[in-house]
Symmetry: C2
Subunit: 388 residues, 2 copies
């Protein structure tokens, strides 16, 4: 296959996919929509809810698409993401990390006044107390989930005793209500071998099921049990205690998930919809070209970005500093000319996206929309007087 | 030393350093100003010009500070950075990577019409031709430097023959003029041992000196020879062909440069002025706390971020996903409470900064200004009709 000439495209078609300012995120809307529909159908078939994670896309427009396909709400990793989602009309927000500074707790109360069904997780009795005090001051009723650590050692409580103690504290406190449990195994999602991932995921789910039993034995009902991700959604969906799944990356896919087996028989039901488009800036070293995407354009975690441009099949990308990458050309590839556009599958989609301000949305080779990554970034308070 | 209580600070002082929205970039203006002054004085003592690199700070306000201290202009890694700098009144812009797509060449000509002393590098005869054609169409006279590869294999020409050929093509072409040479050794800056860095830097400088001789023997004058960085500025400043140094990171410093010996006798004359402030979100695992800064808040390249908060001396940071980090507490440290602010020295400053929208500028514990990182990010053309 001959590489399309990007200059002709850009000149002939002002709405060309190849007219964007490189490096740029390209989002294939057809593939995105298929991924959204497939996950929605899968969760329906399992009889579970889906509350997709916005930490991946940080884009209210995509969250709306997921809600339109039946999602129960939207997960957010940060208060900043949640504020943007709420302001854009999204509801059913679950903030999946504890909010612990005084400033953020105050902001959380303002958010709950605006979007009353917003939920937060806790893993610490002092945080329960702080949330209760703030909620009482603001007159809010905040829904709180107890966060369970599935062995990652990041956030969450470690024992059934701690689950019960925190649930009881929440039930006893004013201004907050006990909404259920969260248990997310970030360390489980990318285990490459399906059998290992399956075994560890089921063990984790059993641990969560035990926590639910413990609470129910105490007469405490557990309306919501939220967890799971793209890597474990089909395991957690088939069996186990989760009432809803928090998957995020499935809408995009990346080199990270491309290196993970879906199961023992099938390939992933999700397509790569997200690419980083870069352009050739130098070609003086035989067998390689330099492109304008480096560590400020592609996250370093996960496997290396993959070359997606069909005519360069077999070529590989390597980082060459903050602003540059090197494409090692496969033996049968012609050297692409200066300015040629090359598209890459991101290493890990979430932190790659966090580098950009917009998605360049395409259908085929046509640029059809530009969607703001409106929940990226954060801005603190301005000083009240100039003093610099 | 007792850790300051961030909540008291935030409550007592609305302009507290500890009132920012974590994770956040903290910029110590006193240290920044000392770094700017020290590099300016060093370059004056060497009799060389300084054209500091804006790829590090991406902030017109800091570029203005450097110009105020005598800098000859500003280097930019991308056209996007250059456009912002020019729009903010900066002049003497050198774009240090080739610009090769048709769209960007057109934008470059618009930039040169606006800021006529803007310079660009080339490493390819076809790019010379494209720039010349565009310059003739636009009526601009564009200053062009030949980029020399010092062994990094990223951009630049590889031989004296190629230097001479490109210089002659530039001299023969209309719309562009030959302004000199660029030779930047990105691979030299972070060599930890001074003797090795010195030896390789001098060998690279000798190669550049040979290129200058070759051109002068052809009767071609070489007004500008631009190169060097923070890691080699004192070596390239003391001897060798460079008329100006492109250092960028010296204003901030980072864990990367903290791991590099300044020379055989002295410590770095530059202080760490840039910190990432993060807050404790969880503390259920003995000997550790979880903080709200992960791979979306701190670049992964370079050594691990370093804990800078004095009361946590000896504690270490490790990444724990995109949104979280783990602080392993030194044996003698009390566990900091939830919400406590902890400050970190960035792994590598440039790609860390590219994650943020603003610097929170402090003097001591007082937040005195918020400076936009106005040259981060990029936005492509909007589609001319809705079609999504």
């Amino acid at each position: 296959m001959k590489l399309r000439d990007p200059l002709d495209h850009a000149l002939g078609h002002p709405n060309s996919r190849y007219s964007v300012n490189t490096p740029a995120l390209i989002l294939d809307l057809d593939a995105l929509e298929r991924n959204v529909a497939r996950m929605a159908a899968t969760m329906t078939s399992f009889g579970r809810a889906l509350r997709p994670h916005a930490k991946s896309h940080k884009c209210s427009r995509i969250a709306q698409l997921q809600i339109g396909a039946g999602a129960a709400g939207v997960c957010c990793a940060t208060l900043d993401e949640a504020e943007v989602m709420a302001a854009c009309g999204l509801r059913g927000i679950l903030i999946t990390s504890p909010v612990t500074t005084r400033d953020k707790i105050d902001r959380l109360m303002a958010l709950v006044a605006y979007a009353p069904d917003t939920m937060i997780v806790v893993d610490n009795a002092r945080n329960v107390e702080a949330l209760s005090q703030a909620a009482q001051s603001s007159g809010a009723l905040l829904a709180v989930l107890v966060d369970i650590d599935l062995g990652f050692g990041r956030t969450g409580v470690l024992s059934y005793d701690a689950v019960e103690e925190l649930a009881r504290r929440i039930l006893a406190a004013r201004g907050i209500r006990f909404a259920g449990l969260q248990a997310y195994g970030g360390h489980l999602q990318h285990i490459p071998e399906y059998s290992v991932r399956c075994e560890k995921t089921r063990a984790a789910a059993d641990f969560v099921a035990g926590a639910v039993e413990r609470l129910r034995a105490c007469g405490i009902s557990v309306p919501l049990i939220s967890g799971g991700g793209t890597g474990t959604h089909a395991i957690d969906g088939q069996a186990g205690p989760f009432t809803e799944i928090q998957a995020g990356s499935y809408i995009f896919m990346d080199a990270d998930y491309n290196a993970v087996a879906y199961n023992t028989a099938d390939s992933w039901p999700f397509e790569v919809s997200l690419l980083v488009q870069t352009a050739v800036t130098s070609s003086n070293v035989a067998g390689t070209v330099t492109v304008d995407a480096g560590t400020k354009a592609l996250a370093l975690n996960g496997p290396r970005p993959q070359v997606a441009t069909p005519s360069l099949a077999g070529s590989t990308y390597e980082f060459s500093g903050d602003e540059h990458g090197r494409i090692k050309l496969a033996a049968n590839c012609d050297t692409p000319p200066l300015g040629e556009r090359i598209e890459l599958v991101a290493s890990h989609c979430d932190p790659t996206i966090a580098h950009y301000d917009v998605y360049h949305c395409v259908r085929g080779n046509t640029l059809v929309a530009v969607w703001a990554i409106d929940a990226r970034g954060r801005r603190g308070p301005l000083p009240t007087a100039a003093g610099c």
